[in-house]
Symmetry: C2
DNA sequence: CTAGAATCGGAACGATGACTCCGCTTAGAC
DNA sequence: GTCTAAGCGGAGTCATCGTTCCGATTCTAG
């Protein structure tokens, strides 16, 4: 009950609007730099206001986070939709992936951001799904990957980008491996290799082996 | 100053040894089920002892965690070393990967475990490095991946495995994409695709594009 | 200019979780 | 059986963090 968008929207007082902007700006930076985990008091201090002021504008820390990421996700959705009309579906798909990867390099809160449920998330997932299936029909992406699997991969990659030991080159390489893996046709080779040469030492349980060979 | 391995190791009292085992057992289960984040009091309760008893045996929560994962990491190192003598380096490498992947499915603390610094971690990384370079020389794994990049990929996969929305099938698929990506020769195709078809909508910044094309 | 309401700031609260302290219990040596 | 020290448990301490409260401040309508 502290959102500015009450029904009879009385215009905010000038200083209040100013503070709201300061809080949003500080939150954007803090979340991007340290993820959702940053203490709210730190955001308030960064904005030059007290914690009480933050809560006057946003009912909860999570609401503040959502306000911060909303524009970002909307951007992603718009981008995905725009690309989905491209002539080359493969390029569209991987271009979008590259864009997300690029963003994950700089914004530490991206994995948290795409994990927030709601209509925006639904729109994002659907837009990604369109990109994916078009790329698959064009033969640019392996057919046995679903949208939800792709999202999990996204999140994992974004999480990997935040590893303390990850340099920019490391991030590029991780990204390259994953995208190349998405392009490969099937996973037959791996299973064949596992069968061809019996494994020394503690062997992989055969149940696991079978699961790799059996599916698709 | 509560470790049992003091210099003049007086044998532990019978009930003390029993409690130590109970704590270790409960900790193994709890860490595997919920990662390093489980409250220590919960582990104590699970073991049927008070928190004070836990601290009598392990000076700190982290020390308890290390005691729990030590055997696991030693196992991984031994496995990696055993496989490194195999006739088919590719099969050895991917077999080890499959084993780690298998473990990450069940043990939620694996990413934390391989992140703990110390001689065991060094040994693990070195053993993995040997597996990797042999597989690369045999042409089974792309040559432009380093050990540290591989470790980051490991952690990413483990993180993906813990995603709330990840079913067993999703985990298999994520694993398949990453291993296939490791096998692919280069990332030339991706860059070519990006160049071939100009991108609709908000384009990837050209600096990013160039970085993909230029390296290797 | 002034009154009243909106807004502010930061002290305080409550929950959580790692870790400590200490009076009581009990193993095990004699 | 007794005595002593090792061991136990759990209440208590300390720190962190989200959130609330309220007296002080500041905007703005009139």
């Amino acid at each position: 009950m502290a959102d500015q968008s009450a029904d009879a929207t009385r215009p905010l007082r000038a200083d209040a609007r100013r503070n709201r902007e300061k809080v949003l700006h500080a939150a954007r930076d803090a979340f991007a730099a340290a993820g959702f985990g940053v203490p709210l008091d730190e955001i308030a201090a960064q904005a030059g206001v007290g914690p009480g002021t933050v809560y006057r504008h946003f009912p909860t820390k999570e609401a503040l986070f959502e306000a911060v990421i909303q524009a970002r996700i909307e951007d992603l959705v718009a981008d995905a939709r725009a690309r989905s009309g491209a002539a080359d579906p493969g390029a569209a798909f991987f271009g979008f992936l590259a864009r997300v990867g690029q963003e994950a390099r700089v914004k530490r809160d991206l994995p948290d951001a795409i994990a927030v449920p709601g209509p925006l998330q639904d729109a994002l997932y659907e837009a990604i799904g369109v990109l994916l299936s078009r790329a698959q029909h064009a033969g640019a992406v392996r057919g046995d990957v679903t949208t939800s699997e792709l999202i999990v991969l996204f999140k994992a990659a974004a999480a990997a980008f935040q590893d303390a030991s990850a340099t920019p080159a490391t991030r590029d390489q991780v990204f390259a491996v994953i995208t190349d893996g998405l392009r490969s046709r099937s996973r037959g080779l791996f299973a064949q290799q596992l069968i061809a040469a019996p494994i020394i030492g503690q062997p992989v349980p055969s149940a696991l082996l079978l699961s790799y060979i059996s599916r698709q």
